[in-house]
Amino acid sequence: MSSIRKWLLPPVAFIAMCMSLDTVPCLAQDTDGGGAVTPDSADAIRASLERPPPKPPFDAVDAVGLPFEIVFFPLRVAGLTVAELVGLAVKPDPEPVQFIEALKDVGFRGGVGSIGPRSGVAARGGFVGLPPLFLQSAFSIRGSQRHRAGLRFEGREGERLEIAYTFWRNDEPYFYGGIDSAEDINRVYLWDQQTFALAGSLRLPIRPSAVLSLVGRLAYEDNRVGRGRDPGTTPIQDDTLTAGLFGVEERVKYLRGGAIIGLDLRYNEGLQTRGLYIEGSYDHFFGVDDTESDFRRVAVDLYGYLPINPRQQLALRLLTEVNRSLSGTGVPFYHLADLGSEHGGRAYHQLRFQDLAMAAMMLEWRWEIWRELHERSRIESFLFYDAGSVMPRLADFRIDDVRRSVGIGWRLITSRSGLLTNYIAFGDDGVRYRFRFSTAF
């Protein structure tokens, strides 16, 4: 009986369907109100059909290729995972979007990134719903914190006046011994810094593509050092070499005044930065209350971008910083000039080398490996060579003391979401791999 049904049902159903369909030969519809093909009865028809398999059967080539599939499976999973994550980052699924949109509606702005040398990934959020008032808070997975609150007034031409209170708690490493220090990360400290600052800035367009910017800053800062919390490391207070450093035990307070002048001759063409930027800064630190220390800091940072063609480019950054004690007990160790990571040495930890002065060069050969058709984002790869040193004075610079980094990386540049950088660096301390939401220059 079932075999009769198997043979009769398809042609009967076909004839019934083909009589009243408005397109193509294949239409399923009841013709007279009785005997309609329903979804349930269609299941039986489908089950009775003899037709080719829905996909090719597993064959000898598949069998031979199976080991390849297994070997490359992790790579495929990794690729899929990255794609999923990037896809979700660029365009989250609807439910989170609605939640984020609701937060935006009440003036919340958030993001993810680092807030200090050993902070790890931090989530930050801020409230800008009642200008000029702003509030920002960030917490990292390692317990670092950064909070800001204040008033910000912005003019039409980019001028800005800001009065802000900042509290920053960060768990930082200290490598004793200047450029000769060993890579020994077991000395850490908790640095609490509170700052009350008044800052004003001006932007003076010289040409459409050139801007001179001036920033003036007056601040009161209060620094305290506590014990680092990482159980696998040695607090700075417990090490005989570092326990006596200026700033370890003392609560250090400064009245700080300074200025930054920047000349921006950069321009962006096709998501490729070109041109030149130079920035010089001067800060004077006056010890207040019980702080017997005055010092000053001068820093110069130069960025140059030389395009070879729209896809290839040579980029250079030169940076230097000099701190000079003017009176008293010197410069607190956490205010020393530093070399490491994106600050002159990508094969080294952040704050890896510290001293009164530093000088470094960062050189990159950049080349485009992908560009989105609508020019909204691109990926470039880069080979880099960093060289730098720290020393008591710039005059003490010795080529033998230079610490070098070489490496390769890639950078996603988008017109909306900013940057994503990924690189691997090789230096005297070994190999270092970094994934960051920013770039060295």
Partner: protein, 568 residues
Amino acid sequence: MMRRFPFMRSSLGVAIILLAACSGPKRATLTLPLEPVAYADTLPIEPPEEREVNEIKRLLVISVGGEIGYGFSLRRWIGRGHEAVNLTRFDDVVSSAWFEHRIGTGRLSPQEAARGPTTLGPDTSRTLTVVAGKAEGISPGFTIRDARGDRYLVKLDPKGNLHMASAAGVISGRLFYAAGYNTPEDYIVVFDAARLAVDPEAEITVEGEDRPMTEEDLARVLALTDSLPNGRYLALASKFVPGRPIGPFFFSGVRRDDPNDYYHHEYRRELRGLYVVSSWLNHVDMRFANTLDAYIDPPGYVRHYLIDFAATLGSGTIRPHKPREGSEFNFAFWPSVGRVLTLGFYQHGWEGVEFEEYHSSLGWFPAERFEPGSWRANWPNAAFRWVTPADGYWGAKLVAGFSDEHIRSAIKEGHLPTEEVERTLARILAIRRDKIVRYWYGKVTPIEQPEVRTLEGPEPALELAFDDLGLKERVWEAGATRYEWMLKDVYHQIEAAGRAEAGVGARQRITIPLDGLDPDLPGVAGSKATATLRIRAIRGREREGRQATVLLRWNGAAAGYSAVGLRH
């Protein structure tokens, strides 16, 4: 009886086998493949849910995960991709919810090709009610309801490129429809802004948020395009497809909530052949987001549409196409790896090409530089990735079906600004068509309509007649064509091979001697074949394409063969 004595049944089976083994030489047969069933994907189903897709995430998954899988696939390395599965015995597809034979029948007139799926079109003589707006995204526009109550999505040309996207959308829509695919009714409309009235319930999407639409919003959207010299506006109006939209279809896998969706999409011949039609029309935006499934109720099945053809021909929707488009994926994983490894010194061919806009209404649409085999859509998809020569040839047959007259008729529907522009576009499409035919016909032995008959005489012989489409389309000359053939009859146990020169005309005849034929052997019925006849066309000195296989069945009553299958 048998149930009670199962050993008797097994003993009987053994006896039959032994008897068969002792009864004479083995007469082997070949099993013909099963064929798809024409009505199978239009059977009634329960209404599927509409699905929303995170487009960026899916595109990245396809581009990265899919390309890694493709790059390390053994099949790709050895060039042995799976063939499509939904094939008839003569290497074709059946009409379905995906595809209907139109140009391929040879009976579609140029006027029918130009008409496409269209019916009346929007009534622009009366008020057009704007019921929704879209002020952002790749292509701003709005939705209207005309006096007849029909709803259309109106898309505007980018500033500086009036006609470009709208003409491309309409022309390509007509050509895809004529090729056999389901497309919406697309029209060029010319209207007065004064005839537009914003519905009080209308909403517009701005910065990802919906809010009530105003007249100012409409004015802002209209300001994104150029008006005609007489102040009126020209746009593409795409009628909402019949049925309930339930989201896009993908080019791999099946839709789980559609029990009719049986063949995995990457193994569907229509979707693999779509690669060739897309390459012809430069539909670089052929991806899942430009497809739509609609639930047609009654009778209650899912019809699969291609939608939005604004990024075809020379149009990139919001700008002319760029030289890269059609040459490399938007995110090309392996070329990117190549650039990483060569410090940026590796350059794909398109990277040295100067951009040249043929006309503001045409954009960038290369003819001479077009390479059918290396054309790429902007995003990879599994169906296109695994196109075999047979799939490409099938698609090329569709493209070859379009005569110059068909092309000119479809172009007329685009309302391009001048006849010179129309002629230029027709010339480009004809050149690209001819390149496609030359390329894909050269990948196989393009024979069709095989017929066999047994020749009487002292020496039995078989005459195979077939159409050589390479000669029919004048891609090659008969004088420079010859055929290699090889017959293997497992039933008569005949094996023979030989060569034959091509004769005059497209219909060719090859005579094959049948030494050892036993005309008294009984025939074979059902889904069986008894012989394979492999034929390879040699054009000049080139053994270009792979051979075609004609499946033959011995008909005992007529003491002759019949052709029961064909594979390319």
